[in-house]
Every structure is written in structure tokens, then in C-alpha cells.
């Protein structure tokens, strides 16, 4: 096996082993997305009985919540995978090893993908069987929506990892809270035209805004917003680039300031 692939594999294996050894962690992955989905599915049912809009597109709220969870779990997957190294005071061992920072980035992204697949995939399957929930797929179009949400989550997750390297576990709160700052702005459950006019330009800087808009377009009008997908993708390229750069810069800063062995609880 090529050595760099083997090093990335080692880091993925570390997370797979962790899940094999810790069933509460696996349960936690599935628990919140499932609970969220169930809550909003019942809410959808209730609204569909009382509102024409929701009767027209009964799956829109479930889709919103599953897509939001994709974004959130994507970000959390990156940051939690990194935080595990800080909790276990293992970052020093990893820093001394031949693992390159960019390989660490790739391994965090793959670990996040697996975590999200388990958590959100589980909720999606449950929604299908329990609430007869269907996503209008438009070929692979809708999957690209999900991929864009993941990319945005990874970009934010990597930026938070950069803070964790710089400030240690005192920056842990950002891992849980950062995305909720963005939630009202990106129109998860409502169109951004609801926002005050001065806030709307800000929401246009968030890739998820276009994805949620595209999702509603698909549900209400049966149209696939490829232009919205493209806009989200272009902004995402910039953000993932910034996220990777921030983490690499922070790693380099830690190397200059002796933070790689000092990090921990």
C-alpha cells in the first residue's frame, strides 16, 4: 500500500476502533439525527393537516432537518475526530509520527464522512420506513446538494480544528455552537427573504443558503435548481480552501510555539 494512503488508513482505523470499543459513541451518532427527524416528522404531519403549503410538500420539513443534520454532522465529524486526539492526549504521538498535516486533514474528512453516513443515513432510512419520506432525487442532483452541505461542514470543521490547535480544549465550545450561529441566516426552514434586508447579503455568503433554497424549489415546484447548486459549490471551493489553509497555518504556528505536545485536557 502506498505509504501516504496507509497513514490515512491508520487514522481512519483509529476512529473505527474507537467506535468498535465504544457503543455509546455509535448510539450518539444515530440518536440526535433520529430524534430530530422524528420530532419534525410529527410536526410536518400536524402542519399538513392545517396548512395547504405543507400539504403540497409534506416532506419539506423532514428534508430540511435531515439536510441540516448533514451539515452539522459533517462539521462535528471533523472537529470531534480531532478533539478525540486532545481528549486522549495523543496529539504528541501523532505529531512525532510521519503523518503529514495534509494527511491529517484528509483523514479527518473521511472520518467525518463515515460518521455522517452512519448518523444521517440512519435517520434517512428511518424516515423512509416510518414516515414514507421520499426525496425528489433528480438523478444524482439531490446527492450533490448533500455533498455540498458536507463540504461546507468540513470547511467549518477544519477552521474550528485550527482554533483547537491554537487554543486547546478551551475552544471546544465552538465545535458545538459555531454552526448554530449560521442556522438562522441560511434559511434551513424558511426562505431567506424572511430575514431583514440588511441580513440577506450575509446569508448569500453561506453555501447552505443556496442548498436549502434549492431543496424547497424541488419540493414545492418540482424543479432542480442547478444554478443554486453551482453557486453553493463555487463558494464551497473557497471555504474548503480557507479551512485547509487555516488548519495548516495553525499547525505550523503550533510547531513554532510548542503547542503540539502541550495540548490536552
Amino acid at each position: 500500500m502506498i505509504l501516504f494512503i496507509r497513514r490515512i488508513y491508520a487514522m481512519i482505523l483509529r476512529h473505527i476502533y474507537l467506535f468498535m470499543c465504544s457503543w455509546p459513541r455509535v448510539l450518539e451518532l444515530i440518536y440526535w439525527p433520529f430524534l430530530n427527524m422524528v420530532l419534525w416528522a410529527f410536526m410536518s404531519k400536524f402542519l399538513a393537516q392545517n396548512s395547504n403549503i405543507f400539504l403540497m410538500a409534506s416532506g419539506v420539513l423532514i428534508a430540511s432537518v435531515i439536510m441540516w443534520d448533514t451539515l452539522f454532522r459533517g462539521q462535528l465529524g471533523v472537529t470531534l475526530s480531532f478533539i478525540e486526539e486532545l481528549w486522549s492526549r495523543n496529539l504528541g504521538n501523532i505529531a512525532v509520527s510521519p503523518l503529514k498535516p495534509i494527511e491529517l486533514v484528509i483523514s479527518l474528512i473521511i472520518a467525518s464522512f463515515l460518521r455522517t453516513l452512519i448518523g444521517v443515513g440512519g435517520a434517512g432510512i428511518a424516515a423512509y420506513f416510518l414516515f414514507d419520506f421520499h426525496i425528489p432525487l433528480f438523478g444524482i442532483g439531490f446527492i450533490l446538494f448533500f455533498i455540498n452541505l458536507l463540504i461546507m461542514g468540513w470547511a467549518l470543521g477544519l477552521a474550528i480544528c485550527a482554533l483547537l490547535i491554537r487554543f486547546g480544549l478551551s475552544a471546544e465550545t465552538f465545535a458545538w455552537a459555531a454552526l448554530f450561529f449560521i442556522q438562522p441566516l441560511c434559511g434551513v426552514f424558511y426562505p431567506v427573504t424572511i430575514l431583514p434586508e440588511w441580513l440577506q447579503p450575509l446569508s448569500l455568503l453561506i453555501p447552505a443558503t443556496y442548498i436549502f433554497e434549492g431543496m424547497r424549489l424541488a419540493f414545492f415546484d418540482g424543479v432542480f435548481g442547478s444554478d443554486l447548486l453551482l453557486k453553493a459549490f463555487l463558494i464551497n471551493i473557497i471555504y474548503i480552501f480557507i479551512g485547509v489553509c487555516l488548519l495548516l497555518f495553525s499547525y505550523s504556528y503550533a510547531k513554532k510555539n510548542g503547542l503540539l505536545l502541550a495540548n490536552g485536557e
Partner: protein, 253 residues
Amino acid sequence: MKARPKIQSFSNVVLSVKHIYKNYGLINAVSDVSFSVEKSKTIGLLGSNGAGKTTTIMMLMGILKATSGEIKILEKDVYKYRNKIAKYINFASPFVELPHRLTVLQNLKVFGHLYGVKYLDDQIHKISMDLDILDLLKRRVGKLSAGQKTRVSLAKSLINNPKILFLDEPTASLDPDNADWIRTYLEKYQKQTGATFILASHNMPEVERLCHNVVMMGNGKVIDYDSPKNLITRYKSKDLEEVFLQLARKDKV
């Protein structure tokens, strides 16, 4: 396709440090430290808390950038060739832990893959036999005693058959029996493999026993550098501990 250059050392010096400095703003953590280490030798870094030992070790391992100076491992610049060199070094410290939830075997597999170890299963079996941890392989690291953890940490640090092994207080918090077992093992390992050890320790009998040379550090500087025997003679002391105390009371280390 071009063959990748392999790191080979033609002289006996496997590690050389020339005039390294480390400043954090106005604070000089390490000032003008120079020394070299030959193959199959153990060098001890001695000094009181805050003397600059850990900072020096971190710089030697390439995970802390020196403000200036030159560090070469196997004749290669440690920062320029960090990823190539990393394959040939390893590190054990009771202050840096392995993931507690993972079993010993899982940890060794993860680090074996990280270091690109060939025939990993055989290597894990061999190290586990040598370090007497075969029956710990399926146990979680978090459930082990301090002595067992030290052996496992040592197993991780030897997984890639390092040419240079950095040991930061390898026997800290161990009872005398376990500590002696570790020291004996390290001596045997060095004889068998020709590995070089860089040891930071506060345990003077340990340093006296294991080290061929000692770098005495104080306030980030090298105060003295010689074999334990010569240092004891020079400072007219009965052992290295007395040398250390003499220097400490003169506020040098």
C-alpha cells in the same frame, strides 16, 4: 521513475545539534545549545524543571521549530526532511498517552500503519513477546497499571525499529522493580539493535546507568557535557545526584 533517496548515515554521528536557540518573544527557552550523539549511544539531558530539556527534545524531534541553529538527524536537516526522518525516530513519554479506549493491539496496529511497518503482525508479536505484554494485547490501554502502560508506550515507540529513540522520563511513577525492568530492557535493546537513545530524566541513578554522555542544562543553556564518570570526578562528587545538586545550588541548572 526516479528512485527515492534513502536516508543513510556514513559517519557515526546520528544526531548533531549546532547552536540552537528557541525564543518565545523575549524569553529565551534554549540558548546556543550544541552537542552530538553517536550511533548506539545514550545521551542524557539533565536539568531542573524549566531548564529547557523538553523544549530541546521537541526541537530534536522536529515538532518545535528552533528560532535559529541547525539540527541534523542521520545527516539530514530535521525540519527540511522531517517526514523522511520521522520514519527512523520514535518517542515515549508518560506525559503523552495512547488512546485509552483502544486496546493495546489496536493502538499498536494504528501506529504500525502510521509508521509504514512491514510485516506488522509479526512485528507486533515480536515486540509484545520482548516487552512481556502478549496477554495485555486485548486489554484497553485505559485499564492498565502505570507499569503496564509504560511497557505499552515503549512498544509503540519501538514499533518502527527506530534508529533514534527519544525517551522523556521513561520510568517516572514506576516502582523500583518495574523501573529496573525497563532499564534492563532498554540496555538489551540497544545492544541488539544499535539504536541511539536521547533520554530526559530526573532520575540520577537511571542516567548514570544508561547514559554514555550527559548534557547538563540550566536556564536553557548547556552547563556541562561529559560522561557521568567524568562529571562525577570533575565535581569531586560521589554520584551524579551530587553533581546535579552542586550545580543546582549554584543556581546553574
